[in-house]
Symmetry: C2
Amino acid sequence: MKQDQKPRPRQLTSFVTFRLARLQASLNAQATSILKTSSGLSLVEWRILQTLEWFEFNTLKQLSDITEIDKGQLSRKIASMVDKGLLEQTPDEMDKRVQHLTLTQRARDICAKAMPIMQARQDLLLKDVSKDDLEVFYKVIDKLEAASKTREIP
Amino acid sequence: MKQDQKPRPRQLTSFVTFRLARLQASLNAQATSILKTSSGLSLVEWRILQTLEWFEFNTLKQLSDITEIDKGQLSRKIASMVDKGLLEQTPDEMDKRVQHLTLTQRARDICAKAMPIMQARQDLLLKDVSKDDLEVFYKVIDKLEAASKTREIP
DNA sequence: ACAATTTAGTTGACCTGTCAAATAAAAAGT
DNA sequence: ACTTTTTATTTGACAGGTCAACTAAATTGT
């Protein structure tokens, strides 16, 4: 009468998030490894530099809002990147609280060097994904992201 | 002749991964917050317990392989969960290196309590995603995951 | 049998991520 | 003008994540 000896599978409730977490772990490891050998940058550093180059803004707050990287982490990371000569901070004229961030020439050089290989990686990642599928993919990400802002579950 | 005063946007090369990273940050914050109030479990603890309940295995190695959580982290987490009375370790008969993990009754109770709310969250996340779109979404995840295993970029 | 290799799990060191409290400068309300 | 509230950034404390070296037990090759 061994019936539920192994009280097995029902629903892996958090399957979407489970899959995403695992994918994320794998993507991070890949990016970290590529960046390390190709530029010496850490993943966060790369993300910060890319975001600053890409978007039309340059303060910690904006960086934190767009990337969802914790502002505490950013504050420290930025300080260390200024030390390393990757970023420059210039105080805002009007608002004495805010600092504007700009890439140094050195940072731009490093990014330029890392870019082709990171671009190749991006191409590799998306090689077998059709344009339509990618569009759906982004659409689903948008929806998940919107829903994930909800803190109270009904 | 101010031309490229702001040497702006080209391609945010790592756009897919950028989007995924941001989504992940948001999902983690949501799950962490829900779990904390509904069960006192941390996100990793929940992931470990769910994975053990869901899959047909129970050793650290297998857990590490399937979740991509670092085995070092797992080793320590498992030890602390044994301390807390969430897991039990029983040594393998044949292979003296391996330990089999099982949820304690306490862990099962906690999971049972957290499950409905986590299930509700999952439903909320996928509420507006059609079956077809979700299928495409998983397909793309599979491809990204496969491509992310490549460490050398051509 | 036994040396060489592989494998499961542990440990140390160190970086990343998160939360909350603290500071200090604006902005809003009175 | 002055108190209250909001906002940008910093700091402290601590959990999570990653890497590499290590131990001990299996497995493989001879």
